[in-house]
Amino acid sequence: MPAPIRLRELIRTIRTARTQAEEREMIQKECAAIRSSFREEDNTYRCRNVAKLLYMHMLGYPAHFGQLECLKLIASQKFTDKRIGYLGAMLLLDERQDVHLLMTNCIKNDLNHSTQYVQGLALCTLGCMGSSEMCRDLAGEVEKLLKTSNSYLRKKAALCAVHVIRKVPELMEMFLPATKNLLSEKNHGVLHTSVVLLTEMCERSPDMLAHFRKNEKLVPQLVRILKNLIMSGYSPEHDVSGISDPFLQVRILRLLRILGKSDDDSSEAMNDILAQVATNTETSKNVGNAILYETVLTIMDIKSESGLRVLAINILGRFLLNNDKNIRYVALTSLLKTVQTDHNAVQRHRSTIVDCLKDLDVSIKRRAMELSFALVNGNNIRGMMKELLYFLDSCDPEFKADCASGVFLAAEKYAPSKRWHIDTIMRVLTTAGSYVRDDSVPNLIQLITNSVEMHAYTVQRLYKALLDDISQQPLVQVASWCIGEYGDLLVSGQCEEEEPIQVTEDEVLDVLEGLLVSNLSAAVTRGYSLTAIMKLSTRFSGVNRIKKVVSIYGSSIDVELQQRAVEYNALFKKYDHMRPALLERMPIMEKSASNGPTEIVQTNGETEPSVVDSKHPPPVSQPANQANDLLDLLGGNDVVPVIQTTVPTKPASAGGELLDLLGDLSLSGVPTPAPSVATSQPSFLLDGLSSQPLFNDIAAAAIPPMTAYNKNGLKIDFTFERANPNPNVAVITIHASNSTEADMTDFVFQAAVPKTFQLQLLSPSSNVVPALNQGTVTQVIRVLNPQKLRMRIKLTYTLKGSPVQDLAEVNNFPPQSWQ
């Protein structure tokens, strides 16, 4: 049998193949030859054959039949055999197959071989692919080699130990004694691998970390080594572009980071060297920047002094301006990590960060976007939003959803005006409307509802947007809802913010009906639009068209639409007298104190026949408790939330005795059984049962503010507004200010009103009233059915360590606040 062809020859031959098929044929032929050669147990050419097999394996062909041959090579005495054998083992075997365990004995023997290069092969293989069982068996050998004076072996043993620890963490302890003198080595290889080993141990075990900090005094040792590296002259062996052993420097910096984290003493001990590295490292090449980068990461993670932190952020700032985009990338990544803790420092680099939004690289763009959102605040919102909206327009689809969400969040927090807020939302909906998250629709609806003075403007803009494009579902849903709610404003051309458009009721219904039939509309959208049409039956004059549409959909195939239509039909036919009440304008929804999902605290006592958009979270219980406490202040009367209805056309009772509760109150003809409405939460906006017009024209004549309390440096002013559309609710905002020289902490404001009224206290803006009038605490009080309003207030706070409490009566309400 002729000698198997040499490796290089095979490679040459295979490369001449012009097609995949030709290559496959050659490979198959050679594999067959190799297989028979293996079967003959040919020792001479086993090495050559396995090498060829490894080449073919790299091309993607199966080579599992060579696994055992690798083991035979490893067991051979020839160095060449071992070299290829171990390579083959690393490529063809994996720890999931039991056959790998057969290596263990060979490795054990080779770890004790007389030739260091054989020992090296064994250490390398074990450190690369050793399974847990192998590691357990051989850990002792590795530990022995860790103590050898042969630096070639010592460095390999250190990394092998790292692998052992990763596979079998319990074995970490046994390597501890051997680490004692590792750092006194001169050999850089040993130093580097030792630092890696120490890093692994410190990261895995808090006990080890403590041990190395206190007992071994690791930090001074590392500082010394690092100092030598920086100060020493040119060392050709380890030089990279004028820097001495950057790999070792980086590893030391990383270990210092772990040692300094949350530890004042260690952090203190490394301050100087970090400053030195940060200022002296050459930055013209990547290698210097790599060291600077690691230094910055370390400074930010340990308890460094503020000067050092500023230095670090400035390095990142310079990185941002670097031509090398890799450097810009790492700068953005790091800034993102530190933006919470060092916000002001990062703000200084805001314009550079915003420029990175225009970068071509996807990763840089993403980081720049995240960082930009993190930097938005009340001062820069307008400028930032312009850039971010521009980005939203032009960015790849993969960014649009996140960007849209970010814009909504930022707008909600920092919108300078309601009009700006609505405009921003409109911009997002029209440019990226199909990418916004599903939960934005209810959030936006809530926002729009609460921007009372913008209703006309909003519905007009949304209507115009619909005329342009009905494909973006979230936009269409919000628009349908608004048209349903505020369609009357639309047709009456009431918009103040911009030129009102002329649109007839029929045109509006055309658009909504168009949504119902369009292929572009999702099922949910159709639901929105049908409900909107129905709502318009109480806002528009012509009802017949609506009745027709609704009856048609009573036989819709879509079950959801059918149900709605049937219920609306029933509303027309059997419950027409309830229709106006049920379809009345939605009230303002209150947000809960936290930034979580919005909660509808108060409802109209009405329900929409089918609910699509509103969430039904439980009512906030906190105000109820406060209400109970307040009533206690007035003499501990029983708390019975009295549901009152009024017909505002009746004059307020003359003389207005406070306790003349039920004098001029009357229940309207529509039954509202009190028990069913009495929940744990006093319900406020009971207007639904009155016959007053839905749209209240009571002019918002400015109600003058008043000072309710002014004593001992604490001043409390009240400002008023009437909640449109419910004129029976007075909204009072208290402004507490403090002219003393110390802050008033734990500030709590409580108010009580006579039982005729009902009162709700919302959460305060804060419970610290800053000294010297530097700021105010605001809190909103809502009072139902105020008649000659009178209030008792209780104030508690802590000033200069002593608690203060005071009670006061507030009688001087301006008449306009309750008329």
Partner: protein, 165 residues
């Protein structure tokens, strides 16, 4: 599954502009099938990148650091905590070692001497970490090992020469 560790180079791949694999070094236990899938997917992803893009990208839960030298892509997968810039230096050091060893290395050298490329890599990195930071020492070790190999093979060729295979 992947090992639990904090800093780890999981694998290094070398491949041509046509997507042909020239070297694959794995530091995590994976089956052949899994390795093939990862290689294929990652190679596609990197080859699709435009030249002006940065050398780092997020891929699955890893960070990929790659650089093209002539017709070969050098690509490392590291875990999230690593310093990408120093990984670029690691790649560069490996290329320098190959260059010194082969004398102005090109892709063909790596194709025809792939086993040597592995040997050099295994003298530079162990378990994904640098074991030797001196170029000279790595090359010296390779030189010595090659000598050992020659000595091991020499006797046989003498025998062949005199006809005693």
């Amino acid at each position: 599954m992947y090992m639990q560790s904090i800093h780890l180079m999981q694998f290094m791949l070398l491949f041509s502009r046509q997507g042909k694999l020239r070297l694959q070094k794995w530091y995590v236990p994976l089956s052949d099938k899994e390795r093939k899938k990862i290689s294929r997917d990652l190679v596609q992803t990197i080859l699709a990148r435009k030249p002006k893009m940065c050398s780092f990208l997020e891929w699955r839960d890893l960070k990929i650091v790659y650089k093209r030298y002539a017709s070969l892509y050098f690509c490392c997968a590291v875990e999230d905590q690593d310093n990408e810039l120093i990984t670029l230096e690691i790649i560069h050091r490996y290329v320098e070692l190959l260059d010194k060893y082969f004398g102005s290395v090109c892709e063909l050298d790596i194709i025809f001497n792939f086993e040597k490329a592995y040997f050099i890599l295994d003298e530079f990195l162990l378990g994904g970490e640098a074991q030797e930071t001196s170029k000279k020492n790595v090359l010296k070790a390779i030189e010595q090992a090659d000598l050992l190999q020659e000595e091991a093979e020499a006797p046989r060729s003498v025998l062949e020469e005199i006809g005693l295979t």
